[in-house]
Amino acid sequence: MKFPADLKFTVSDEWLRVEGNTATLGVSDFAQDQLSDIVYFEATVHVGERVSQGDQVAIVESVKAAADVYTPVSGEITEVNQALAQSPELVNSDPYGGAWMVKLKLGNPSEVEVLMDSAAYQKNTEERSR
């Protein structure tokens, strides 16, 4: 199970890559393992849309579960990964790379500070698996 050190994580299993004032968001390796084979991805926001902390940005579905993806930070959506809708299985094979879901311009960079770092998230997933 991978927990890249340069990412931030949420308790609802989203990851965030922050570069300057922009952030990229997806779901973690742990999440895709729990969900199993992903068959569907749909972004529920569009480019230019303003989102608040906790808003839903996407849906992923596997054969046994559907999961809503939420943004832990507020901001403006700058990109949506259309390719992922065509190949949802990337969430399983490349959750931190090809399966990025949305990019946004941060509205309030301080919101990033409360997120878990890689080590804390890994510990969190271990506790939940017990």
Binding site: Y40, E61, V63, A66, D68
Partner: protein, 444 residues
């Protein structure tokens, strides 16, 4: 003990294996103060006695085999080809469970897939689910789909007064916990088109409407789409055997009651609600869905699919909690449509149409009665009666005729009016007898 196979010896062996002296010990967790109540129920009856008792109860009703039925209003007396019940009585179908283990359920799964296909072709839509409880709850589910489609941002639903009154009641019951404005059916003259704006999530109409009228809804559908609302049509499936499908005038969702397709009246249930829509809404659609796939041996097979949609909660939006479909009823519809086929369904529709128009013409010619419908109608029509419909119907029973539906309580503007339905089961003689009886019932 009915249907319990255990011998005393087997019980003894099982208790020993479990490690208790008596079955009573197994209930140790049940609070003693309320345990083992003395139920006031009749003593057990042998099967022979049970069926005799039920025959007496059955006999204490007037049924549509004994009396000519001209009552419709959402449930219709159609002929059911004998093959339907023979297939429904096959144990492998009716004692089977929901097909969650597809390797052992291909019979159920393939028949549902065929049902879905036939309903799509009948309504002109692109996808169908495996059914809802009835036409009324299907309409409620259409409202939920529209609310989800608009992500909870629209809170107005417009219902035509021509939709079955009980269906509109059910929609209101379902939605009572959500802050919605459900309007458009305040009076018979209300026009759905007058209520459309950007807050409208769904506009719904009935085809033919509750009074049997056939309308072209193209303009209304266009107006709904212009404000971004979805357009839902509640359709009669027999009528669809000869009338153009709602897909041709802009429907996004077509729902309705499938009872006319091979399901007996059975005093109101079980029936089946069909639900069909366009492919783009498939993930917003509630209910079970069967999809095609292959097995490990390369054979084409069927499975329940998109199952996470079922019962899944979406934050801040309404969600359907439906956990079932009307399994065996969907099979009945499938067998019926397979039995009557393309030409048979058209024949049934046309027989209903011609007989209804013959009846309407004869009754309209009677003194004291008037035909209320002004435009084209299918197999139901409204007549104004010279005396209260309840009294007319009471007189009709004396002629072994089940009369029409008294519209007064649902539509105050139609007090003194009765809704009559005519199907292929009404012979010309039955209709002529009805006309004679109505003429005589006009006087005290």
């Amino acid at each position: 003990m009915a249907y319990i196979p255990h011998t005393a010896e087997e019980r003894r062996q099982m208790l020993e294996a479990i490690g208790v002296e008596s079955i009573e010990e197994l209930y140790a967790d049940v609070p003693e103060t309320v345990r083992f109540p003395d139920l006031d129920l009749p003593d057990p009856a042998a099967e022979m006695e049970v069926i005799e008792e039920l025959q007496l109860l059955s006999g204490a009703n007037l049924n549509t085999r004994e009396a000519a039925c001209f009552l419709g209003a959402g449930a219709y007396n159609h002929y059911i080809p004998s093959v339907v019940d023979h297939i429904l009585r096959r144990s492998e179908f009716y004692t089977a469970y929901t097909p969650y283990q597809p390797e052992m359920s291909q019979g159920t799964l393939q028949t549902i897939f065929e049902y879905q296909s036939m309903m799509c072709f009948l309504t002109g839509m692109e996808v169908s689910n495996a059914s809802h409880y009835d036409g009324a709850t299907s309409l409620a589910e259409a409202v939920i789909l529209a609310l989800n489609f608009h992500q909870g941002k629209r809170n107005k639903v417009v219902l035509s007064p021509g939709i079955h009154p009980q269906y509109r009641e059910v929609v209101r019951t379902y939605m009572q916990g959500l802050q919605l404005e459900i309007i458009g059916d305040e009076s018979l003259q209300s026009q759905p088109g007058d209520h459309l704006d950007e807050r409208t999530s769904l506009v719904a109409v009935q085809y033919p409407d509750f009074f049997g009228n056939i309308h072209d809804y193209s303009a209304l559908a266009a107006a709904a789409h212009a404000v971004g609302a979805l357009f839902c049509v509640v359709a009669n499936p027999t009528a669809l055997g000869m009338l153009k499908p709602p897909s041709e005038f802009g429907a996004d969702v077509v729902v309705g009651e499938g009872q006319p397709l091979g399901i007996p009246l059975s005093f109101g249930g079980p029936y089946i609600g069909f639900f069909t829509t366009r492919e783009e809404y498939v993930r917003k659609m509630a209910g079970r869905l069967v999809g095609e796939t292959v097995d490990s041996r390369g054979q084409r097979g069927y499975v329940l699919t998109l199952t996470p949609r079922e019962q899944h909660i979406r934050r801040g939006r309404a969600s359907s909690n439906i956990c079932t479909n009307q399994g065996l009823m969907a099979l009945a519809v499938t067998v019926y449509l397979a039995a009557v086929g393309k030409s048979g369904l058209r024949q049934v529709a046309e027989l209903c149409y011609h007989k209804a128009h013959y009846a309407a013409a004869q009754i309209a010619a009677l003194e004291g009665y008037q035909l209320w419908n002004s435009g084209p109608f299918f197999h139901e029509f409204v007549i104004r009666c010279p005396r209260p419909p309840a009294q007319i119907n009471q007189a009709l029973v004396g002629y072994d005729i089940i009369g029409g539906y008294d519209l007064g309580s649902d539509y105050p503007e139609l007090a003194g009016h009765m809704l009559l339905a005519v199907t292929e089961l009404n012979h010309k003689e039955d209709i002529d007898d009805l006309v004679t009886a109505l003429a005589e019932a006009a006087h005290d």
